[in-house]
C-alpha cells in the first residue's frame, strides 16, 4: 500500500517539471544569452542583460516597486489583523457568514474589480460625483500612486486575513482564560499570548500579499494611468513592446532572487517562533 501511493505523486511531478522547472530553466537560459531569440544557433553566453540593469533608471523602478509593495503589505496587515481578530472572536454560527462576505468579492475576476475601481476613482467617477452632490471638494486620487496602493490593498487583503484568521481560530480559549486568571489585562494578553502565537499567520500573510504586490503590472497600469511604471510593467514591456526577451528574462530572475531573499528574511522571523503552530497554506 505504502509503495503504491507513491505513484500517485507522479502526475504532480510531471506537472511540476513541464510547467515550472522547464520554464524556469528557459528563463535562466535566456537571461544569460544574447542574440536573436528566433535563431537558437546565434545565441551566445552573455551577462549583458544583467549589466544593463545597473542603471539608475531601472534601479529606481525596482526601489519604487518594493516601496509600494511594502506600503501595501503594511496597510494590509494593519487592516487585516483586526478583521481576522473580529471574525475569529465572532460566534461560531456567524463566522462562516462573515468569512463569506469577505471571500465573495474574490470570486469575481480580479481585472473586473480593478476596472470597477477605475470607474469609482476616475476624475469624473462615482466617488467625485457623490462628493460634488453633497458639496464637498473632489479628490484627485486616480491616476496616481495612492490609487495603485489602494488597488493593491483591496485586491490582496483577503490573502492577509485568511492565514491570520486560521491561526487565531486555533488558539485555545483556555490559554486566554489562564492568562486572565494569572492577572494579565486585555492588552497584555494580546501582546504576550495572542500575538506571538499568530506570527506564523502574519508571516504567510505578509508573503502572500508582498509577492503579488511587488510583481503586479495590471493594477499599476490601470490605476496608475500608465504613468507609474513598476518592475512588473517593465518585464511585461520587454516581451510585448520591446521584444527583448533577454532583458525581460534577466529582470524576472533579478525579481525572483530579490523575492527569495525577502522570504528568507521572513522565515528567519518565523523560525524564532517555532512553538506558534503549523505553517499555513
Amino acid at each position: 500500500m505504502k509503495n503504491k501511493s507513491k505513484y500517485l505523486a507522479y502526475p504532480y511531478v510531471i506537472w511540476m517539471a513541464i510547467f515550472i522547472v522547464i520554464p524556469l530553466v528557459l528563463v535562466l537560459y535566456y537571461s544569460f544569452t544574447s542574440g536573436n531569440i528566433h535563431d537558437p544557433g546565434s545565441l551566445k553566453f552573455s551577462v549583458e542583460s544583467y549589466g544593463k540593469f545597473f542603471d539608475s533608471l531601472y534601479l529606481n523602478i525596482i526601489i519604487k516597486s518594493f516601496w509600494l509593495a511594502f506600503l501595501s503589505t503594511v496597510l494590509c496587515l494593519l487592516f487585516g489583523y483586526p478583521v481576522a481578530f473580529i471574525i475569529s472572536r465572532a460566534k461560531m454560527k456567524h463566522r462562516g457568514l462573515l468569512l463569506l462576505f469577505f471571500l465573495v468579492p474574490i470570486w469575481m475576476n480580479f481585472l473586473l474589480r480593478t476596472y470597477a475601481w477605475m470607474a469609482i476613482l476616475s476624475p469624473n467617477g462615482f466617488l467625485n460625483r457623490v462628493l460634488e452632490m453633497i458639496g464637498l471638494p473632489t479628490l484627485a486620487i486616480m491616476p496616481g500612486q495612492k490609487a495603485v496602493v489602494l488597488g493593491m490593498v483591496y485586491n490582496f487583503l483577503p490573502f492577509m486575513v485568511l492565514p491570520i484568521y486560521t491561526v487565531l481560530a486555533k488558539i485555545d480559549k483556555n490559554v486566554l482564560e489562564a492568562a486572565m486568571d494569572l492577572g494579565a489585562n486585555g492588552l497584555i494578553t494580546f501582546v504576550r499570548v495572542i500575538l506571538p502565537q499568530t506570527i506564523p499567520g502574519i508571516v504567510s500573510g505578509v508573503t502572500m500579499v508582498f509577492m503579488p504586490a511587488v510583481s503586479t503590472f495590471v493594477i499599476s497600469r490601470l490605476l496608475g494611468g500608465g504613468k507609474e511604471l513598476l518592475i512588473g510593467n517593465l518585464i511585461e514591456q520587454q516581451f510585448t513592446v520591446h521584444r527583448d526577451w533577454h532583458f525581460g528574462s534577466a529582470l524576472s530572475i533579478i525579481l525572483m532572487v530579490m523575492i527569495l531573499i525577502s522570504m528568507a528574511v521572513m522565515s528567519k522571523v518565523d523560525a524564532g517562533n517555532e512553538q506558534g503552530g503549523a505553517a499555513l497554506w
Binding site: 528566433h38 533608471l57 477605475m118 476624475p123 494611468g225 504613468k227 521584444r243
Partner: protein, 351 residues
C-alpha cells in the same frame, strides 16, 4: 424530486453533447483570423462562414507590437492579420509575410489607386488596404472652448489632469517630434532626446497613458483632451454624442494604413484570399466601415456611404481633406534606431 432533476439534467447534457458531435466529424477548414479589437462587423464573419462553409476562428490583439511579438515567438497558426504600414515594412524585410495572389481577389479593383503602391509595399505584393486614418486630438467642447489646431494644447497647464495620451510608443513620441517641427520618423538621437524632454515635462499635467480606455473616459467626462486615432472620434459620433470633436493639428500628424496580410506560415492561404476578397466586396466593405467607423479605401463602398450618410464623408475625422493629408506623414520602420526609441520610451514612463 431531486432524482427527477438529475435525470432531466443528464438527459439535456447528453442531447447537447450528441448535437455538437457532427461538427467534429466534417473536418471543416478553419481560418484563423487575428485582428485588432472592435475592428470588424461580426455579422460579416457569420455571413462569410455561411456562404463558404469555412469556419472562422477569430482572435484579438491591441497593438502592432504585441501582435508582432506573438507572431515572432513562432508556433502560431494565423492565416490573416491586420498590421499597419511600418509593421508591414518590417515583416516583409524579415520574410514573415506570404505573397498575395491578386488574381484570386477580383474585388481588389475597388481599391482606390492612391492606396496602391505605397512605400511600405511598393508592388502590392504582400498587403491589401483595410482601413486608413489619422492621428489627432479628441476634445470635449464643453471644457475646451478655444479652437484646437495645434499640439501645443496638449502641453497647456490650463487643462492639467484632463489630458490623455496614447500608451503607444510611436504615436506619443511622434507627436512630440511633430510639435518640435521634426519628422515622426526621426532617427536623429538629438531630436528624439528633445522629444523625450518635452514628454517628461508634460507628464505632471496629463492624466495618463491609455489605449482602449480613451473613448470611455472622454464620454464619461474624465478628460478634456485626448490623443487618439480618427476612428475613435467616429465611434463616438455613431453613438450620437455631439460634444466631442476631433482635429488634426496644423503641425501635422501621422497618416496610417491598416492592411490585410497573410503570415508566411499560414496553412490556408487560399481561404485567406477568399476572406480578403469577401471583405472587399462593396456591400461588405460598406457595412464594415459603417459599423467600425474607420475610413474605407474601397471606392465603391465609399460611394454607397455617400448615398446613405453624405454628412459623414464630409467629416474630417472620417475622410480628411487633401489639405490635411498634405501635413501628415506615414510611419516607416525604424530599423536599428528602434532600440533607442524603446529606451527613450522606458525613460519617459519611468521618470
Amino acid at each position: 424530486m431531486k432524482k427527477f432533476f438529475f435525470i432531466v439534467i443528464t438527459f439535456i447534457l447528453l442531447v447537447m453533447a450528441i448535437a455538437t458531435l457532427p461538427g467534429c466529424g466534417q473536418n471543416r477548414v478553419v481560418l484563423n483570423v487575428f485582428n485588432w479589437g472592435d475592428y470588424i462587423d461580426r455579422d460579416l464573419i457569420s455571413k462569410f462562414e455561411k456562404e463558404t462553409g469555412i469556419k472562422v476562428n477569430y482572435e484579438l490583439y491591441d497593438t502592432n507590437e504585441s501582435m508582432l511579438a506573438k507572431l515572432e515567438t513562432g508556433g502560431t497558426y494565423y492565416d490573416l492579420i491586420f498590421p499597419s504600414d511600418y509593421v508591414i515594412e518590417e515583416m516583409i524585410a524579415k520574410g514573415m509575410l506570404a505573397k498575395i495572389d491578386l488574381s484570386n481577389i477580383p474585388n481588389y479593383q475597388y481599391i482606390e489607386s492612391r492606396f496602391k503602391n505605397l512605400d511600405y509595399d511598393p508592388n502590392n505584393e504582400y498587403s491589401v488596404p483595410y482601413f486608413w486614418g489619422t492621428l489627432g486630438i479628441l476634445y470635449n467642447t464643453d471644457m475646451v472652448t478655444e479652437t484646437v489646431n495645434s499640439w501645443d494644447i496638449l502641453w497647456d497647464e490650463k487643462y492639467s489632469g484632463k489630458i490623455l495620451m496614447l500608451d503607444s510608443m510611436r504615436d506619443t513620441i511622434g507627436v512630440a517630434l511633430k510639435k518640435l517641427g521634426y519628422s515622426v520618423n526621426s532617427t536623429n538621437t538629438k531630436e528624439i532626446e528633445e522629444a523625450k524632454n518635452l514628454l517628461i515635462q508634460q507628464k505632471p499635467i496629463i492624466n495618463g497613458y491609455y489605449v482602449d480606455e480613451i473613448v470611455d473616459m472622454m464620454i464619461n467626462g474624465d478628460a478634456a483632451l485626448a490623443l487618439t486615432w480618427s476612428g475613435s472620434a467616429m465611434d463616438i459620433y455613431w453613438q450620437g454624442i455631439d460634444n466631442i470633436q476631433y482635429a488634426v493639428p496644423k503641425e501635422g500628424a501621422n497618416l496610417w494604413f491598416d492592411c490585410m496580410a497573410i503570415p508566411a506560415n499560414s496553412q490556408h492561404k487560399k481561404e485567406a484570399e477568399m476572406f480578403i476578397n469577401f471583405m472587399l466586396d462593396p456591400e461588405h466593405a460598406y457595412q464594415n466601415t459603417e459599423s467600425v467607423g474607420y475610413a474605407t479605401p474601397n471606392r465603391a463602398a465609399l460611394e454607397l456611404l455617400k448615398e446613405s450618410s453624405p454628412e459623414v464623408v464630409e467629416m474630417e475625422a472620417y475622410y480628411p481633406s487633401e489639405e490635411v493629408l498634405q501635413r501628415c506623414e506615414v510611419f516607416v520602420d525604424l530599423g536599428s534606431v528602434k532600440e533607442f526609441y524603446n529606451l527613450t520610451w522606458t525613460q519617459i514612463l519611468a521618470d
